[in-house]
């Protein structure tokens, strides 16, 4: 009797993690937009309610075909309940990510605090609503991939590395030239940079190995340098950091003569969305 119960909790955790991953994947460009935080400063309570209602409505519509649970919604009651959970995930993730980047403080005041996290929760809610479409593989995909993956070790390493790089560029390139990178970095202490690094690694791991319930075993058995989950996560993070450094340099956000701590903090701050993109990219291969 104990086994199916443990299995249920495990599936539930996978589903919730997939929701969080979807929120980050779609919401990262919004998180790195200062206007989103600023609009939150003067969002009136009626407008906050409207945003919450719109996020809920969007989730209901998206949950009919998408959602974040591997098991599709069974009925209207189910869809409404999952939309409640989706909105809660969006709000929770918005609070967590804004706190991580030091945009929410206690001194911010309750009006601005609620305004910022509710404004950001709208794109996050959409991300939760399309989490399955972004992250979940159907059994069909899995089989064709399995055949493709069992190639030469070098070949699968290269294809994973290329996917991580491509994903990092797709998500990171629109964020790299913006003022948000210096702005966020300037207020961060070294401990917080470490926290951002830890979160990047954890999110990457969760997106590829946890949230993708079912395809997990396949990835663990594949060949190549990216073979164990830990080494793949670390290698993909290094690729994301390299892509982040390259883009920052190309867009002249950092220059060769700039101080080392500036390089490090900018690269780590941009590294977070790059890692998320890279993880999604590796899933797509």
């Amino acid at each position: 009797m104990a086994r199916p119960k443990a299995h249920e909790w495990r599936t539930e955790l996978d589903d919730l993690m997939r929701g969080i991953a979807g929120a980050f994947l779609f919401g990262a460009p919004f998180l790195y937009t200062m206007e989103v935080w600023w609009k939150g400063n003067f969002t009136s309570p009626p407008r906050m309610m409207l945003i919450l209602a719109m996020a809920y409505l969007a989730l209901v519509l998206l949950n009919i075909k998408g959602g974040f649970r591997a098991q599709q919604p069974r009925g209207y009651g189910q869809i409404l309940a999952e939309s409640v959970e989706g909105l809660a995930i969006a709000l929770f993730t918005a609070t967590l990510s804004l706190t991580l980047l030091d945009i929410l403080h206690i001194e911010t005041g309750i009006d601005a605090l609620m305004g910022r996290l509710i404004t950001l929760s709208l794109p996050y809610a959409i991300g939760v609503g399309i989490a399955n479409n972004l992250l979940l593989k159907t059994p069909d995909d899995k089989d064709t991939n399995l055949a493709k993956k069992r190639g030469h070790p070098w070949r699968s390493t290269l294809s994973d590395a290329g996917a991580a790089l491509l994903g990092a560029i797709v998500v990171g390139s629109s964020i790299a030239p913006t003022d948000e990178i210096p702005m966020i970095s300037s207020s961060l202490e070294p401990t917080r940079l470490l926290l951002i690094m830890a979160s990047s690694l954890l999110l990457s791991y969760v997106i590829v190995f946890e949230a993708n319930f079912g395809a997990q075993r396949r990835r663990r058995s594949q060949s190549g340098l990216f073979q164990s989950p830990i080494s793949e996560t670390v290698a993909a993070y290094l690729i994301a950091l390299a892509a982040s450094a390259l883009m920052l340099w190309l867009f002249q956000v950092i220059r060769v003569g700039d101080p080392v701590n500036q390089w490090v903090s900018y690269i780590i701050v941009l590294g977070l969305p790059c890692t998320i993109g890279g993880a999604a990219g590796r899933l797509a291969v």
Binding site: E12, A88, E107, G109
Partner: protein, 125 residues
């Protein structure tokens, strides 16, 4: 995975947590909405401890918006009248949300402990 017609305990658990979280958020927004006072932005400015570096004096100022409305482009001016001519230093805060604090630094060439600091202007966003 077997199809289950009803939610399992784990799903009920996360629905319960979600409902709690969501009702807390909605209750907070509702309380902000129903709160009758709508005081416009009002500021208090507190000078901090002076720090000397490179022949200049750095005077930190903490500004607090006591009102219920957010203010933008809040300009704080510090005036030091003990010198001749008097020395003025200003700084601008992009946003000071309702009932929140923000910190800035004014820089003077003379010891500014006696300086008066005040908000000279702001914009309504």
């Amino acid at each position: 995975m077997s199809e289950k017609p009803i939610r399992n305990p784990a799903e009920w658990f996360s629905l319960a947590i979600s409902l709690t979280l969501l009702s807390a958020v909605i209750a907070t927004v509702a309380s902000l909405w129903l709160k009758p006072s709508l005081k416009p932005a009002e500021f208090t400015v507190e000078p901090g401890k002076v720090r000397a570096a490179n022949d200049h004096y750095y005077l930190p100022v903490t500004i607090r918006n006591e009102g219920d409305a957010t203010a933008a482009e809040v300009t704080v001016e510090g005036t030091l009248t003990t010198t001749s001519p008097e020395e003025v230093s200003t700084t601008t805060f992009d946003f000071v949300p309702a009932r929140s604090d923000a910190e800035g630094v004014l820089i003077f060439s003379q010891e500014p402990s006696a300086a008066t600091v005040r908000v000279v202007s702001y914009q309504e966003p």
